[in-house]
Protein backbone atom coordinates (compact mmCIF):
# COMPACT_ATOMS: atom_id res chain seq x y z
CA UNK A 1 0.00 0.00 0.00
CA UNK A 2 1.27 3.43 -0.95
CA UNK A 3 2.17 5.87 1.81
CA UNK A 4 0.73 9.28 1.42
CA UNK A 5 2.10 12.42 3.00
CA UNK A 6 0.65 13.08 6.48
CA UNK A 7 -1.91 15.91 6.53
CA UNK A 8 -0.25 19.30 6.94
CA UNK A 9 -0.93 21.18 10.19
CA UNK A 10 -3.79 23.36 8.90
CA UNK A 11 -5.28 21.57 5.93
CA UNK A 12 -8.58 23.49 6.04
CA UNK A 13 -9.46 25.74 3.15
CA UNK A 14 -11.08 29.11 3.98
CA UNK A 15 -14.47 29.81 2.41
CA UNK A 16 -15.42 33.38 1.54
CA UNK A 17 -18.80 34.32 0.13
CA UNK A 18 -18.93 38.07 -0.57
CA UNK A 19 -22.26 39.86 -1.07
CA UNK A 20 -23.78 36.83 -2.78
CA UNK A 21 -27.29 37.14 -4.26
CA UNK A 22 -29.31 34.66 -6.26
CA UNK A 23 -32.69 35.07 -7.93
CA UNK A 24 -34.91 32.28 -9.30
CA UNK A 25 -37.32 33.72 -11.86
CA UNK A 26 -39.38 36.21 -9.86
CA UNK A 27 -38.23 35.37 -6.36
CA UNK A 28 -35.05 36.40 -4.65
CA UNK A 29 -33.62 33.30 -2.92
CA UNK A 30 -30.42 34.67 -1.39
CA UNK A 31 -29.94 38.38 -0.75
CA UNK A 32 -26.52 39.92 -0.21
CA UNK A 33 -25.02 37.23 2.02
CA UNK A 34 -21.45 37.57 3.18
CA UNK A 35 -19.98 34.57 4.95
CA UNK A 36 -16.39 33.97 5.99
CA UNK A 37 -15.29 30.58 7.28
CA UNK A 38 -11.88 30.35 8.91
CA UNK A 39 -9.69 27.40 7.90
CA UNK A 40 -10.54 24.35 9.99
CA UNK A 41 -13.73 25.86 11.45
CA UNK A 42 -17.13 24.16 11.61
CA UNK A 43 -20.06 26.42 10.76
CA UNK A 44 -23.76 25.55 10.73
CA UNK A 45 -26.31 27.36 8.60
CA UNK A 46 -29.84 27.33 10.00
CA UNK A 47 -33.01 29.12 8.99
CA UNK A 48 -36.71 28.70 8.29
CA UNK A 49 -37.45 26.27 5.48
CA UNK A 50 -37.24 27.79 2.04
CA UNK A 51 -34.87 30.50 3.26
CA UNK A 52 -32.14 29.70 0.76
CA UNK A 53 -29.81 27.63 2.96
CA UNK A 54 -29.41 24.90 0.36
CA UNK A 55 -29.14 27.46 -2.44
CA UNK A 56 -26.30 29.14 -0.57
CA UNK A 57 -24.54 25.80 -0.07
CA UNK A 58 -24.90 24.96 -3.75
CA UNK A 59 -23.43 28.34 -4.64
CA UNK A 60 -20.51 27.63 -2.30
CA UNK A 61 -20.09 24.21 -3.98
CA UNK A 62 -20.00 25.78 -7.45
CA UNK A 63 -23.17 23.94 -8.52
CA UNK A 64 -25.02 27.23 -8.96
CA UNK A 65 -23.49 30.48 -10.15
CA UNK A 66 -24.44 33.50 -8.00
CA UNK A 67 -26.13 36.40 -9.81
CA UNK A 68 -23.91 38.88 -8.01
CA UNK A 69 -21.10 38.58 -5.52
CA UNK A 70 -18.07 36.34 -5.41
CA UNK A 71 -17.17 32.89 -4.13
CA UNK A 72 -13.71 31.81 -3.02
CA UNK A 73 -12.57 29.03 -3.60
CA UNK A 74 -13.66 29.30 -7.21
CA UNK A 75 -15.88 26.50 -8.61
CA UNK A 76 -13.81 23.45 -9.50
CA UNK A 77 -11.08 24.07 -6.93
CA UNK A 78 -9.49 20.81 -5.81
CA UNK A 79 -10.16 19.80 -2.22
CA UNK A 80 -13.81 20.86 -2.06
CA UNK A 81 -16.24 18.04 -1.34
CA UNK A 82 -19.99 17.88 -1.03
CA UNK A 83 -22.31 15.60 0.90
CA UNK A 84 -25.93 15.68 -0.25
CA UNK A 85 -29.18 15.37 1.67
CA UNK A 86 -29.63 11.85 0.28
CA UNK A 87 -26.87 9.24 0.03
CA UNK A 88 -27.02 9.21 -3.80
CA UNK A 89 -25.23 5.87 -4.09
CA UNK A 90 -25.10 3.95 -7.36
CA UNK A 91 -27.33 0.95 -6.56
CA UNK A 92 -25.35 -1.46 -8.77
CA UNK A 93 -22.05 -0.71 -7.06
CA UNK A 94 -20.78 -2.07 -3.77
CA UNK A 95 -20.20 0.37 -0.93
CA UNK A 96 -16.48 0.27 -1.62
CA UNK A 97 -16.90 0.94 -5.37
CA UNK A 98 -19.26 3.81 -4.52
CA UNK A 99 -16.71 5.33 -2.17
CA UNK A 100 -14.01 4.94 -4.81
CA UNK A 101 -16.10 6.70 -7.50
CA UNK A 102 -14.58 10.20 -7.13
CA UNK A 103 -11.09 8.70 -7.33
CA UNK A 104 -12.07 6.59 -10.33
CA UNK A 105 -13.42 9.63 -12.17
CA UNK A 106 -10.22 11.48 -11.34
CA UNK A 107 -8.14 8.69 -12.89
CA UNK A 108 -6.56 7.28 -9.71
CA UNK A 109 -5.17 3.74 -10.33
CA UNK A 110 -7.30 0.83 -9.16
CA UNK A 111 -5.08 -0.49 -6.37
CA UNK A 112 -4.74 2.92 -4.76
CA UNK A 113 -8.48 3.51 -5.19
CA UNK A 114 -9.28 0.34 -3.31
CA UNK A 115 -6.91 1.08 -0.48
CA UNK A 116 -8.20 4.62 -0.04
CA UNK A 117 -11.86 3.55 -0.25
CA UNK A 118 -11.23 0.93 2.46
CA UNK A 119 -9.50 3.55 4.59
CA UNK A 120 -12.42 5.99 4.14
CA UNK A 121 -14.93 3.27 5.06
CA UNK A 122 -12.92 2.54 8.19
CA UNK A 123 -13.06 6.26 9.08
CA UNK A 124 -16.87 6.18 9.07
CA UNK A 125 -16.79 2.94 11.09
CA UNK A 126 -17.87 0.64 8.27
CA UNK A 127 -14.64 -1.31 7.79
CA UNK A 128 -16.44 -4.57 6.98
CA UNK A 129 -19.21 -3.32 4.68
CA UNK A 130 -17.13 -2.57 1.60
CA UNK A 131 -18.58 -5.51 -0.33
CA UNK A 132 -22.22 -4.77 0.49
CA UNK A 133 -24.63 -3.33 -2.05
CA UNK A 134 -26.48 -0.15 -0.97
CA UNK A 135 -29.87 -1.90 -0.96
CA UNK A 136 -28.65 -4.24 1.80
CA UNK A 137 -27.52 -1.38 4.07
CA UNK A 138 -29.62 0.59 6.57
CA UNK A 139 -30.34 4.29 5.99
CA UNK A 140 -27.68 5.31 8.49
CA UNK A 141 -25.10 3.01 6.93
CA UNK A 142 -25.85 4.36 3.45
CA UNK A 143 -25.32 7.89 4.71
CA UNK A 144 -22.01 6.81 6.22
CA UNK A 145 -20.97 5.39 2.85
CA UNK A 146 -21.90 8.72 1.25
CA UNK A 147 -19.83 10.50 3.89
CA UNK A 148 -16.90 8.17 3.21
CA UNK A 149 -17.22 9.03 -0.50
CA UNK A 150 -17.08 12.74 0.38
CA UNK A 151 -14.00 12.13 2.54
CA UNK A 152 -12.10 9.76 0.25
CA UNK A 153 -10.54 12.64 -1.68
CA UNK A 154 -9.18 14.12 1.60
CA UNK A 155 -11.17 17.33 1.20
CA UNK A 156 -10.00 20.61 2.68
CA UNK A 157 -13.51 22.05 2.60
CA UNK A 158 -16.55 19.85 3.20
CA UNK A 159 -20.03 21.17 2.39
CA UNK A 160 -22.89 19.22 3.95
CA UNK A 161 -26.53 19.68 2.93
CA UNK A 162 -28.55 18.28 5.84
CA UNK A 163 -26.86 14.91 5.41
CA UNK A 164 -28.50 13.26 8.43
CA UNK A 165 -31.90 14.96 8.18
CA UNK A 166 -33.76 11.81 7.20
CA UNK A 167 -32.33 9.63 9.99
CA UNK A 168 -33.74 8.84 13.40
CA UNK A 169 -32.54 10.92 16.33
CA UNK A 170 -30.18 8.32 17.83
CA UNK A 171 -28.45 7.52 14.54
CA UNK A 172 -28.27 11.19 13.80
CA UNK A 173 -26.48 12.03 17.07
CA UNK A 174 -24.12 9.13 16.51
CA UNK A 175 -23.23 10.37 13.04
CA UNK A 176 -22.99 13.97 14.27
CA UNK A 177 -20.40 12.96 16.87
CA UNK A 178 -18.53 10.91 14.28
CA UNK A 179 -18.53 13.83 11.83
CA UNK A 180 -17.22 16.23 14.45
CA UNK A 181 -14.47 13.79 15.46
CA UNK A 182 -13.47 13.36 11.79
CA UNK A 183 -13.43 17.12 11.29
CA UNK A 184 -11.20 17.60 14.33
CA UNK A 185 -8.89 14.78 13.29
CA UNK A 186 -8.51 15.88 9.68
CA UNK A 187 -8.84 19.61 10.11
CA UNK A 188 -11.03 20.33 7.10
CA UNK A 189 -13.30 23.34 7.06
CA UNK A 190 -16.97 22.37 7.28
CA UNK A 191 -20.20 24.14 6.38
CA UNK A 192 -23.35 22.30 7.44
CA UNK A 193 -26.89 23.18 6.40
CA UNK A 194 -29.42 21.88 8.91
CA UNK A 195 -32.84 22.69 10.27
CA UNK A 196 -32.09 21.08 13.61
CA UNK A 197 -30.91 23.62 16.15
CA UNK A 198 -29.65 20.89 18.46
CA UNK A 199 -27.55 19.45 15.65
CA UNK A 200 -26.17 22.88 14.80
CA UNK A 201 -25.19 23.55 18.41
CA UNK A 202 -23.70 20.12 19.03
CA UNK A 203 -21.56 20.19 15.86
CA UNK A 204 -20.38 23.66 15.13
CA UNK A 205 -18.13 26.45 16.31
CA UNK A 206 -20.40 29.09 14.88
CA UNK A 207 -24.06 29.13 13.82
CA UNK A 208 -25.32 31.50 11.14
CA UNK A 209 -29.08 32.12 11.11
CA UNK A 210 -30.66 33.07 7.81
CA UNK A 211 -33.88 35.09 7.67
CA UNK A 212 -37.06 34.01 5.93
CA UNK A 213 -36.80 34.21 2.10
CA UNK A 214 -35.02 36.03 0.64
CA UNK A 215 -32.20 34.63 2.79
CA UNK A 216 -30.14 37.25 4.59
CA UNK A 217 -27.82 36.74 7.55
CA UNK A 218 -30.14 37.43 10.48
CA UNK A 219 -27.87 36.43 13.36
CA UNK A 220 -24.60 34.72 14.17
CA UNK A 221 -23.67 32.95 17.39
CA UNK A 222 -20.22 31.94 18.45
CA UNK A 223 -20.41 28.49 20.07
CA UNK A 224 -16.73 27.83 20.68
CA UNK A 225 -17.37 27.76 24.47
CA UNK A 226 -20.03 25.00 24.30
CA UNK A 227 -18.00 21.92 23.40
CA UNK A 228 -19.11 18.82 21.50
CA UNK A 229 -20.24 15.27 22.03
CA UNK A 230 -22.72 13.49 24.26
CA UNK A 231 -21.51 15.10 27.52
CA UNK A 232 -21.75 18.61 26.11
CA UNK A 233 -25.34 17.96 25.01
CA UNK A 234 -26.30 17.56 28.69
CA UNK A 235 -24.71 20.83 29.79
CA UNK A 236 -26.63 23.94 30.80
CA UNK A 237 -24.63 25.95 28.27
CA UNK A 238 -25.80 23.71 25.48
CA UNK A 239 -29.43 24.09 26.53
CA UNK A 240 -29.01 27.85 26.82
CA UNK A 241 -27.55 28.10 23.33
CA UNK A 242 -30.34 25.97 21.89
CA UNK A 243 -32.89 28.26 23.53
CA UNK A 244 -31.13 31.40 22.33
CA UNK A 245 -30.92 30.07 18.79
CA UNK A 246 -34.55 29.05 18.85
CA UNK A 247 -35.43 32.64 19.72
CA UNK A 248 -33.18 33.98 16.95
CA UNK A 249 -34.72 31.54 14.49
CA UNK A 250 -38.30 32.42 15.50
CA UNK A 251 -37.41 36.05 15.04
CA UNK A 252 -35.87 35.32 11.62
CA UNK A 253 -38.96 33.39 10.56
CA UNK A 254 -41.48 35.98 11.80
CA UNK A 255 -39.69 39.32 11.84
CA UNK A 256 -42.79 41.31 12.83
CA UNK A 257 -43.59 39.31 15.97
CA UNK A 258 -41.70 40.38 19.10
CA UNK A 259 -39.53 37.54 20.46
Amino acid sequence: MEHRAPPDPSPGLPLRLEKVSKRFEESLAVDDVTLHLAPGSFTALVGPSGCGKTTLLRIAAGLLPPDTGSVDPAPGTAGVSLCFQEPRLLPWRTASANVALPLELAGVPRAERRARAQEALARVQLPDSGGALPATLSGGMRMRVALARALVTDPRLLLLDEPFGALDEITRQELDDMLRALQEAHGFTALLVTHSIAEAVSLSDEVVVLSRAPGRVAARRDLSHVGHGAAARQSARFQAEVAALQTALDHAAHPGVPA
Binding site: A61, L63, G76, L82, F84, E86, R88, L90, P91, W92, R93, L101, P102, E104, L105, A106, L133, A135, T136
Partner: protein
Protein backbone atom coordinates in the same frame (compact mmCIF):
# COMPACT_ATOMS: atom_id res chain seq x y z
CA UNK B 1 -31.35 -20.25 -6.15
CA UNK B 2 -32.22 -23.95 -6.27
CA UNK B 3 -33.00 -24.33 -2.57
CA UNK B 4 -36.45 -25.42 -1.36
CA UNK B 5 -37.69 -21.82 -1.60
CA UNK B 6 -36.29 -21.54 -5.16
CA UNK B 7 -38.06 -24.76 -6.12
CA UNK B 8 -41.29 -23.62 -4.51
CA UNK B 9 -41.05 -20.27 -6.27
CA UNK B 10 -40.48 -22.02 -9.59
CA UNK B 11 -43.51 -24.21 -8.96
CA UNK B 12 -45.67 -21.21 -8.05
CA UNK B 13 -44.57 -19.48 -11.28
CA UNK B 14 -44.87 -22.42 -13.65
CA UNK B 15 -47.69 -24.30 -11.91
CA UNK B 16 -50.74 -22.12 -12.68
CA UNK B 17 -50.07 -21.60 -16.44
CA UNK B 18 -49.16 -25.30 -16.80
CA UNK B 19 -52.44 -26.29 -15.16
CA UNK B 20 -54.37 -24.03 -17.55
CA UNK B 21 -52.53 -25.45 -20.58
CA UNK B 22 -53.23 -29.05 -19.51
CA UNK B 23 -56.88 -28.18 -18.87
CA UNK B 24 -57.26 -26.53 -22.29
CA UNK B 25 -55.62 -29.50 -24.06
CA UNK B 26 -57.85 -32.00 -22.29
CA UNK B 27 -61.00 -29.96 -23.00
CA UNK B 28 -59.96 -29.51 -26.64
CA UNK B 29 -59.35 -33.23 -27.08
CA UNK B 30 -62.62 -34.08 -25.38
CA UNK B 31 -64.56 -31.66 -27.62
CA UNK B 32 -62.77 -33.05 -30.66
CA UNK B 33 -63.68 -36.63 -29.71
CA UNK B 34 -67.30 -35.78 -28.90
CA UNK B 35 -68.15 -33.43 -31.83
CA UNK B 36 -65.67 -34.93 -34.28
CA UNK B 37 -65.24 -31.94 -36.64
CA UNK B 38 -63.48 -32.51 -39.98
CA UNK B 39 -59.71 -32.72 -39.51
CA UNK B 40 -59.04 -29.79 -41.86
CA UNK B 41 -61.21 -27.54 -39.67
CA UNK B 42 -59.96 -28.35 -36.21
CA UNK B 43 -57.67 -31.30 -35.51
CA UNK B 44 -57.37 -32.47 -31.89
CA UNK B 45 -54.16 -32.31 -29.85
CA UNK B 46 -53.54 -36.04 -30.42
CA UNK B 47 -53.75 -35.64 -34.22
CA UNK B 48 -51.45 -32.62 -34.09
CA UNK B 49 -49.00 -34.56 -31.98
CA UNK B 50 -49.12 -37.44 -34.48
CA UNK B 51 -48.49 -35.03 -37.37
CA UNK B 52 -45.50 -33.68 -35.50
CA UNK B 53 -44.07 -37.18 -34.84
CA UNK B 54 -44.52 -38.23 -38.48
CA UNK B 55 -42.60 -35.20 -39.72
CA UNK B 56 -40.37 -34.58 -36.71
CA UNK B 57 -36.95 -34.31 -38.43
CA UNK B 58 -38.18 -31.86 -41.08
CA UNK B 59 -40.19 -29.81 -38.53
CA UNK B 60 -37.31 -29.62 -36.05
CA UNK B 61 -34.88 -28.57 -38.81
CA UNK B 62 -37.38 -25.89 -39.88
CA UNK B 63 -37.69 -24.77 -36.25
CA UNK B 64 -33.91 -24.52 -35.95
CA UNK B 65 -33.70 -22.37 -39.11
CA UNK B 66 -36.46 -20.03 -37.96
CA UNK B 67 -34.98 -19.92 -34.46
CA UNK B 68 -31.56 -19.02 -35.85
CA UNK B 69 -33.03 -16.21 -37.95
CA UNK B 70 -34.88 -14.87 -34.90
CA UNK B 71 -31.77 -15.08 -32.68
CA UNK B 72 -29.55 -13.36 -35.26
CA UNK B 73 -32.27 -10.76 -35.86
CA UNK B 74 -32.69 -10.14 -32.13
CA UNK B 75 -28.93 -9.81 -31.62
CA UNK B 76 -28.68 -7.31 -34.49
CA UNK B 77 -31.74 -5.44 -33.20
CA UNK B 78 -30.17 -5.31 -29.72
CA UNK B 79 -26.93 -3.78 -31.05
CA UNK B 80 -28.76 -1.36 -33.31
CA UNK B 81 -31.30 -0.44 -30.66
CA UNK B 82 -28.81 0.18 -27.86
CA UNK B 83 -26.31 2.05 -30.04
CA UNK B 84 -29.05 3.99 -31.85
CA UNK B 85 -30.84 4.80 -28.59
CA UNK B 86 -27.59 5.99 -27.04
CA UNK B 87 -26.82 8.25 -30.00
CA UNK B 88 -30.38 9.65 -30.10
CA UNK B 89 -30.25 10.17 -26.36
CA UNK B 90 -27.04 12.18 -26.62
CA UNK B 91 -28.50 14.72 -29.04
CA UNK B 92 -31.75 16.56 -28.47
CA UNK B 93 -31.88 17.51 -32.16
CA UNK B 94 -31.51 13.92 -33.37
CA UNK B 95 -33.97 12.67 -30.76
CA UNK B 96 -36.61 15.18 -31.80
CA UNK B 97 -35.86 14.65 -35.49
CA UNK B 98 -35.50 10.88 -35.71
CA UNK B 99 -37.55 9.40 -32.88
CA UNK B 100 -41.00 10.47 -34.15
CA UNK B 101 -40.13 9.10 -37.59
CA UNK B 102 -38.91 5.84 -36.06
CA UNK B 103 -42.22 5.52 -34.19
CA UNK B 104 -44.13 6.23 -37.41
CA UNK B 105 -42.16 3.53 -39.19
CA UNK B 106 -43.36 1.24 -36.43
CA UNK B 107 -46.94 1.84 -37.62
CA UNK B 108 -46.21 0.47 -41.12
CA UNK B 109 -47.42 -3.15 -41.16
CA UNK B 110 -44.54 -5.57 -41.42
CA UNK B 111 -46.43 -7.65 -43.96
CA UNK B 112 -46.51 -4.62 -46.25
CA UNK B 113 -42.79 -4.05 -45.83
CA UNK B 114 -41.72 -7.66 -46.28
CA UNK B 115 -41.87 -7.67 -50.13
CA UNK B 116 -39.50 -4.68 -50.13
CA UNK B 117 -37.07 -6.67 -48.02
CA UNK B 118 -37.08 -9.38 -50.69
CA UNK B 119 -36.26 -6.72 -53.29
CA UNK B 120 -33.36 -5.43 -51.21
CA UNK B 121 -32.02 -8.63 -49.66
CA UNK B 122 -33.20 -11.29 -52.11
CA UNK B 123 -34.98 -14.51 -51.15
CA UNK B 124 -33.78 -16.52 -48.16
CA UNK B 125 -32.33 -15.99 -44.69
CA UNK B 126 -31.10 -12.42 -45.12
CA UNK B 127 -34.57 -11.00 -45.80
CA UNK B 128 -35.95 -13.12 -42.94
CA UNK B 129 -33.36 -11.74 -40.52
CA UNK B 130 -34.01 -8.19 -41.78
CA UNK B 131 -37.71 -8.70 -41.14
CA UNK B 132 -36.98 -9.85 -37.57
CA UNK B 133 -34.68 -6.85 -37.00
CA UNK B 134 -37.29 -4.36 -38.19
CA UNK B 135 -39.90 -5.43 -35.65
CA UNK B 136 -37.48 -6.13 -32.81
CA UNK B 137 -35.41 -2.97 -32.95
CA UNK B 138 -38.03 -0.44 -31.91
CA UNK B 139 -38.81 -1.65 -28.38
CA UNK B 140 -35.08 -1.85 -27.64
CA UNK B 141 -34.42 1.60 -29.10
CA UNK B 142 -37.32 3.13 -27.17
CA UNK B 143 -36.32 1.39 -23.93
CA UNK B 144 -32.71 2.56 -24.29
CA UNK B 145 -33.79 6.17 -24.82
CA UNK B 146 -36.29 6.05 -21.95
CA UNK B 147 -33.77 4.40 -19.64
CA UNK B 148 -31.03 6.91 -20.44
CA UNK B 149 -33.42 9.87 -20.15
CA UNK B 150 -34.75 8.76 -16.78
CA UNK B 151 -31.37 8.58 -15.08
CA UNK B 152 -31.75 9.83 -11.49
CA UNK B 153 -31.12 13.62 -11.59
CA UNK B 154 -29.45 13.41 -8.20
CA UNK B 155 -26.89 10.96 -9.54
CA UNK B 156 -26.37 13.14 -12.62
CA UNK B 157 -25.61 16.04 -10.33
CA UNK B 158 -23.21 13.84 -8.37
CA UNK B 159 -21.29 13.13 -11.57
CA UNK B 160 -21.30 16.84 -12.35
CA UNK B 161 -19.78 17.54 -8.95
CA UNK B 162 -16.97 15.11 -9.80
CA UNK B 163 -16.56 16.74 -13.22
CA UNK B 164 -17.07 13.45 -15.05
CA UNK B 165 -16.69 13.63 -18.83
CA UNK B 166 -19.43 12.54 -21.26
CA UNK B 167 -17.95 9.06 -21.74
CA UNK B 168 -17.66 8.40 -18.01
CA UNK B 169 -21.21 9.68 -17.55
CA UNK B 170 -22.43 7.28 -20.22
CA UNK B 171 -20.54 4.14 -19.17
CA UNK B 172 -20.59 4.56 -15.42
CA UNK B 173 -24.01 6.19 -14.95
CA UNK B 174 -26.29 6.31 -18.01
CA UNK B 175 -25.94 2.78 -19.31
CA UNK B 176 -26.12 1.03 -15.90
CA UNK B 177 -29.18 3.17 -15.04
CA UNK B 178 -30.82 2.22 -18.34
CA UNK B 179 -29.96 -1.48 -18.06
CA UNK B 180 -33.25 -2.62 -16.42
CA UNK B 181 -35.28 -0.78 -19.08
CA UNK B 182 -33.12 -2.23 -21.86
CA UNK B 183 -33.65 -5.76 -20.50
CA UNK B 184 -37.43 -5.20 -20.43
CA UNK B 185 -37.38 -3.84 -23.99
CA UNK B 186 -35.32 -6.80 -25.18
CA UNK B 187 -37.75 -9.26 -23.58
CA UNK B 188 -40.59 -7.69 -25.56
CA UNK B 189 -38.39 -7.73 -28.68
CA UNK B 190 -37.63 -11.46 -28.24
CA UNK B 191 -41.22 -12.44 -29.01
CA UNK B 192 -41.46 -9.91 -31.82
CA UNK B 193 -38.27 -11.22 -33.45
CA UNK B 194 -39.91 -14.65 -33.92
CA UNK B 195 -43.03 -13.04 -35.39
CA UNK B 196 -40.83 -10.98 -37.70
CA UNK B 197 -38.88 -14.04 -38.80
CA UNK B 198 -42.00 -16.09 -39.61
CA UNK B 199 -43.63 -13.20 -41.50
CA UNK B 200 -40.36 -12.71 -43.39
CA UNK B 201 -40.36 -16.39 -44.30
CA UNK B 202 -43.94 -16.15 -45.62
CA UNK B 203 -42.62 -13.75 -48.24
CA UNK B 204 -38.98 -14.67 -48.74
CA UNK B 205 -38.59 -18.29 -47.62
CA UNK B 206 -37.53 -21.17 -49.85
CA UNK B 207 -39.57 -24.37 -49.99
CA UNK B 208 -38.25 -27.91 -50.19
CA UNK B 209 -35.88 -29.61 -47.80
CA UNK B 210 -34.53 -26.28 -46.48
CA UNK B 211 -37.97 -24.88 -45.66
CA UNK B 212 -38.26 -22.81 -42.46
CA UNK B 213 -41.39 -22.79 -40.26
CA UNK B 214 -43.09 -19.98 -42.21
CA UNK B 215 -42.90 -22.00 -45.43
CA UNK B 216 -43.95 -25.21 -43.65
CA UNK B 217 -47.06 -23.36 -42.48
CA UNK B 218 -47.84 -22.03 -45.98
CA UNK B 219 -47.39 -25.38 -47.77
CA UNK B 220 -49.33 -27.29 -45.10
CA UNK B 221 -52.10 -24.73 -45.58
CA UNK B 222 -52.16 -25.37 -49.34
CA UNK B 223 -52.46 -29.10 -48.69
CA UNK B 224 -55.20 -28.52 -46.08
CA UNK B 225 -52.92 -30.22 -43.53
CA UNK B 226 -54.31 -28.23 -40.62
CA UNK B 227 -52.70 -30.63 -38.15
CA UNK B 228 -49.28 -29.74 -39.62
CA UNK B 229 -50.14 -26.01 -39.52
CA UNK B 230 -50.92 -26.37 -35.82
CA UNK B 231 -47.71 -28.30 -35.19
CA UNK B 232 -45.63 -25.61 -36.95
CA UNK B 233 -47.47 -22.77 -35.17
CA UNK B 234 -46.87 -24.54 -31.86
CA UNK B 235 -43.17 -24.87 -32.68
CA UNK B 236 -42.85 -21.17 -33.59
CA UNK B 237 -44.55 -20.31 -30.30
CA UNK B 238 -42.04 -22.58 -28.57
CA UNK B 239 -39.18 -20.70 -30.25
CA UNK B 240 -40.61 -17.39 -29.02
CA UNK B 241 -41.05 -18.83 -25.55
CA UNK B 242 -37.48 -20.15 -25.44
CA UNK B 243 -36.04 -16.88 -26.72
CA UNK B 244 -38.07 -14.93 -24.17
CA UNK B 245 -36.84 -17.26 -21.43
CA UNK B 246 -33.21 -16.97 -22.57
CA UNK B 247 -33.39 -13.16 -22.65
CA UNK B 248 -35.06 -13.13 -19.22
CA UNK B 249 -32.34 -15.34 -17.75
CA UNK B 250 -29.52 -13.33 -19.30
CA UNK B 251 -31.21 -10.16 -18.11
CA UNK B 252 -31.56 -11.54 -14.62
CA UNK B 253 -27.87 -12.40 -14.59
CA UNK B 254 -26.90 -8.98 -15.90
CA UNK B 255 -29.11 -7.22 -13.35
CA UNK B 256 -28.56 -9.38 -10.27
CA UNK B 257 -26.91 -6.41 -8.52
CA UNK B 258 -30.03 -4.31 -9.07
CA UNK B 259 -32.22 -6.91 -7.34
CA UNK B 260 -30.06 -7.41 -4.24
Amino acid sequence: MTGPTGGRRLLSTVGPPLTVVVFVLVAWQAADTIFDPPAYLLPGPIEIHRAFLNDAPRLLAATARTGLAAVVGLAAAFSLGVIGGSVLSASRFLRRGVYPLASLLQMVPLVALAPLLVIWFGYGQRATVASAVIVAVFPILAATIDGLQSTDPGLRELFRVYRAGPLARYWKLGLPSAAPAIVTGTRVAAGLAVIGAVVGEFVSGFGGEEAPLGIVILSALRESRTDLVFAAVGLSAAVGFLLFGAVSSLGWLALRRWHA
